[in-house]
Amino acid sequence: MYDHQMPAQGDDVAHIGVTLRPHRAYAAVVHGATVLPVEPVAPARADLEGVIAAAVGVALRAAPGGAGAVTVDLAPLLLDTLVRTEAEVPPVAAVRIVPRAATDPALARSPAELVERRIARRWTVAGGHDLLGNELTPLDGDGLALLCEELAGTGIRHVAIVAAGSQARPAHEREVADAILAAVPGARISVASDYGGQGLVAREATVVIDSALTALTERVLDRCERTLARLPGSLELRVARGDGGYSTPSRIRVTPVVAFGATEALELCGAAHLAGLDDCRVLLSRDGRPVAGEVRHGLAVVRPDVPVGIGTELVVPMAVLTGAPPDSYPGGADVPVIRPEAPPHVLACVGAAISQPASWLDEVAFIESAAELDHVRRDAEERATAMVMANGAAPGSTRVAEVSTVAVPYSPSGTIRIRVRVAGSPDTSLAGR
């Protein structure tokens, strides 16, 4: 006998994908090969709560076990909030840890106006390491003490910290974070070493956006969880990631920037799912302009890039759609090209509903032998696997979807960049948490 309090599992459950736009939400229910777009009927509401409730109702009618999980795409709301100057976003303090401060004003700030306007105050503290973790300058203790004193007086509570070389050795970032927490109890700190990646400016923009989105993300996820708690069954809440996978709400609460830019990857995966393809090129439309992206092995092709509307690189990967000539396919026709008929919000909802837990790792390492390369690669794969399980994958279900190691050009021999992408199957025991 079916118990509504038990997590719904197996083929008898449907999954719900939701994309949250600034003025309304959309949802779709996916049950096997069946996709049911959800359109609340008046007087039902088209906001987050109303759409989720309507979707759960559709799922109950479509699948014997009702809905198993709800995956929410927060990205459109997050971007809208960042772009609108009048949006309520907490002011962010940015701390750079580099050997010396910039002498040119353009190098002292973010090249992206959208990022810079969220920064209420900047500090530079002398310190930092090189790409391989060698200390370039000792951390300036006096400068740090002054920063803490000044920060405490500003009332700013959201702090973004980036140190040169912190991907390899995060010691300076951690020391600064510890000092700030001691001086400003309750400060919400985002450190760049949590995200890896390349480029100080991109890493700084990532943690600034992370800090700026924290409060909004908390509020939205609170709403989602309250809504699910009121509905029948034991629904699992998932949050779509920029790479088209998903994470648990608890992970997104501490790393909200990971949810940024998810919509494009979801649309690609949704279109591929509707076409029944694992590998394809997807032609979409943006403001009447044709754009394209790719799906390989069921996953959207993603990479760190400059997201539309941001103006600078971020280190979290996402599917950046590129301009596509309307009547030609440059791929040499070795993969199918699809032009989905469903509206973009339906594609995004379908992509969210079918998404898998995912993780991504992008690091620089130093090797001196083939054996050491194998070790570094295995270690990276194991850490990425641990991350994907923290993001909601079932034990034993994970797979390395992509891995690449390339020599870093014009660097000392043995310097390599390693990137790993791991995906897994949902851990259904997480339902209702």
Binding site: P99, Q198, R281, I416
Partner: protein, 369 residues
């Protein structure tokens, strides 16, 4: 850039509006380095050009022969520079050090390599020093070592040279032999953070008339404009061919990235890697592409079809942009492009210095067979 009558295809000055095209064109001539600091570098240069005004871009012949000139470039890793961006004064400081040593005031700057970030920092230095930029360089692309230049082949010494790191620390090198300078610099570059601003090859415009490669700065701007005009890759390759002479060797998907990790000659940075590309359509060949810091050879079904000093680059067909070597992924669809280098590199001395033999591939260049 503003045009100059009687000088077709070249330009009279560089403005902030030219920066995106310069960046893209510079990447074509050295696709090794990724875009992790593109927005930072381009906004820095555009800001300088807005504040200090356009930088005059002059043919070497348009400059009085006795004018002291100096080249600048980024020495070391683009990834290191992305993670430890310039404070902003490194290139000016490097030039000033040589000025103090030689008791001269440089009247023009030129890029050591009109490619990658090195092309842009030459404009930065010219803007900061408020001197013209010469439409010429020493490589016409990027080679691994600082004596791999047309000036070196013409007997111009790279020294005295100054390297200033992002830490603000600097090193001044005076050696009788160009190759020794590079060896001495490498250890210092690692110590100051993995990259340094280099000022080298102080000489006169008269010497550069015979020793430098002309027109290479305006060339990258022209190439960059094509690349910014995101179009069908087939059309793009055809257009690039008319400006650069490049041709498509094959289109295919990256099947494998092999990091061989065998030790290499210490004078050639980076471990050798290989790329396997399965040709889509066409002859269905398998391409093996040999990487160092640049692509140095392409074999199609075992036959050598292109090699250094050819400039070999990969166009990401799906995205319509150049693929940089540190961002390649299995599954990417790429056009493999080969562009002839400047003629000086196919001379016996040029081939000895930068040909395939210098990368441990002792085969005759396809152009010589």
């Amino acid at each position: 850039m503003t045009g100059q009558p009687g000088y077709i295809g070249a330009s009279a000055s560089i403005t902030a509006e030219d920066v995106p095209a310069l960046y893209e064109g510079a990447k074509f001539y050295s696709p090794a380095v990724g875009d992790a600091n593109r927005s930072s570098i381009t906004s820095w240069l555009a800001g300088l050009l807005d504040r200090n005004g356009p930088v005059p871009l002059l043919r070497v012949e348009a400059v009085p022969p006795e004018t002291p000139c100096v080249s600048v470039c980024v020495l070391g890793s683009g990834s290191a520079m992305a993670d430890l961006p310039p404070a902003g004064d490194e290139f000016e400081m490097a030039v000033r050090q040589i000025e103090r040593l030689q008791r001269v005031s440089f009247g023009a700057v030129y890029p050591l390599a009109a490619a990658t970030i090195s092309a842009l920092v030459a404009v930065v230095a010219a803007a900061q020093l408020r001197v013209p930029l010469l439409d010429a360089d020493g490589m016409g692309r990027t080679f691994a070592l600082i004596h791999h230049t047309a000036m070196h082949l013409s007997g111009v010494s790279p020294t005295p040279l100054a390297a200033v790191g992002p830490t603000g620390e600097s090193v001044l090198v005076e050696v009788p032999s160009g190759p020794r300078a590079d060896r001495m610099l490498r250890a210092n570059v690692d110590t100051v953070g993995g990259w340094a601003a280099l000022a080298a090859y102080p000489t006169t415009a008269g010497v550069l008339r015979r020793a430098a490669l002309p027109g290479t700065v305006s060339r990258i701007a022209n190439v960059g404009r094509l690349l910014l005009d995101r179009t069908d890759p087939d059309v793009l390759v055809t257009r690039l061919g008319t400006i650069t002479g490049c041709r498509r060797l094959a289109r295919g998907r990256i099947a494998e990235l092999e990091h061989l990790s065998r030790p290499s000659d210490v004078t050639i940075p980076a471990h050798p890697s290989s790329l396997v590309v399965e040709e889509t359509g066409g002859l269905g060949r398998q391409l093996r592409i040999e990487l160092r810091s640049e692509i140095v050879a392409v074999f199609a079904d075992g036959a050598l079809v292109a090699g250094a000093p050819d400039l070999i680059s990969l166009l990401d067909v799906s995205r319509g942009v150049l693929a940089t070597l540190d961002s390649l992924e299995p599954g990417d669809l790429v056009d493999v492009l080969a562009t002839p280098a400047d003629a000086v590199w196919y001379s016996p001395r040029g081939m000895e210095m930068v040909g395939m033999g210098s990368h441990g591939i002792p085969l005759a260049h396809p152009r010589r067979r």
